[in-house]
């Protein structure tokens, strides 16, 4: 057992895949302020009550009631400590890892709850940042909302990220760099339905066979998505070339070239 997040096979600082990390971020500390205030109140308020009762000389700490007070206070403080530590763990292990090709969102819930979501940068379609409220504006943190491409569009919400505009811009930049690197911008647009797939060339000239390229897993995944999209679009694409029908306009103005 590796005593590291490596046990989940993610690139983390100190792991072999460290070089792939572009952004390694935690939730902004200011998002923990409410929890800090609550934990401090839980520790201070009982003490304050005891001091006030002692000053008013209510004789509450007498006889057998002392036994209950001591045991009760001990249990209360132990539970309050665990509550505070759990809140800190939940904050500290909420991680956002952006690598060259993937976004990983790890949400920690106490000691034993963990939700891990991954998103391929190829599927990113739209990235927006949202800073709302006094504290987020003051400390420059907010939410980043990532929308995915494809028929089943999903949203990916990263909460309380430091400098969300910068984060969003970096994600979009990595996405663009990745699809440019793969040379797949046109195919991706076809897959998203922005551009209709190109017609086959039936000229008499014999076509030279292109050498078989070694496909990466991302290329294969993308190809599969494009093929599925094409299958679903095909029966409706009955318009003549260059004509834009009302139905097509409703779908985002798909035009056949």
């Amino acid at each position: 057992l590796k005593l590291n997040l490596e046990e989940y096979f993610y690139p983390t600082p100190g792991s072999e895949q460290e070089k792939d990390i572009v952004i390694f971020a935690r939730r902004h500390w200011a998002s923990l302020l409410g929890q800090i205030i609550l934990s401090t109140a839980m520790l201070i308020i009982p003490l304050a009550i005891v001091i006030i009762l002692q000053i008013r000389d209510t004789h509450f700490y007498q006889g057998i009631s002392r036994n209950f007070i001591v045991v009760g206070a001990s249990i209360y403080y132990l539970v309050a400590l665990t509550f505070s530590f759990t809140a800190w763990i939940s904050y500290y292990y909420d991680l956002y890892i952006v690598t060259k090709d993937t976004i990983i969102d790890i949400t920690q819930i106490g000691f034993f709850g963990r939700k891990i979501s991954q998103l391929s940068l190829l599927r990113v379609q739209d990235v927006s940042s949202n800073i709302k409220g006094i504290l987020p504006t003051l400390f420059a943190y907010g939410d980043v909302l990532i929308e995915t491409a494809g028929e089943r569009s999903e949203t990916f919400l990263l909460e309380a990220v430091s400098n969300p505009q910068e984060f969003a811009a970096k994600v979009l930049e990595l996405h663009n760099k990745m699809i440019e690197g793969e040379g797949r911008r046109k195919q991706l647009m076809e897959g998203e339905g922005v551009m209709a797939p190109a017609e086959k060339d039936f000229s008499d000239e014999p076509q030279k066979e292109k050498p078989q390229e070694q496909k990466t897993p991302y290329q294969e995944q993308l190809q599969k998505e494009i093929e599925e999209t094409q299958k679903s679009v095909e029966p409706e694409a009955k318009n003549e070339q260059g004509e834009v029908s009302k139905d097509d306009l409703n779908k985002g103005g798909e035009v056949k070239f």
Binding site: L3, V71, T86, Q108
Partner: protein, 71 residues
Amino acid sequence: MIILLIFYLLFLFVYFAFNVYGIFRVSTMRVKGDMTGKAILFYVVAIAAVIFFSLILISSLNWPTNIGSLF
């Protein structure tokens, strides 16, 4: 009143088991250069301090008294 003491000791046993396993899980999530080591140390010292002072106070109290004498 001894039953209250037994209840407290049982609580401590469950509390220890919960925390030992919890800290073990946390230690498996560690990342190079994180603050988890110091946080766990602080947490354990705080727990030890609470239990230490509780046991000192508990040892100074009168426990053989019958709970019925309260009423």
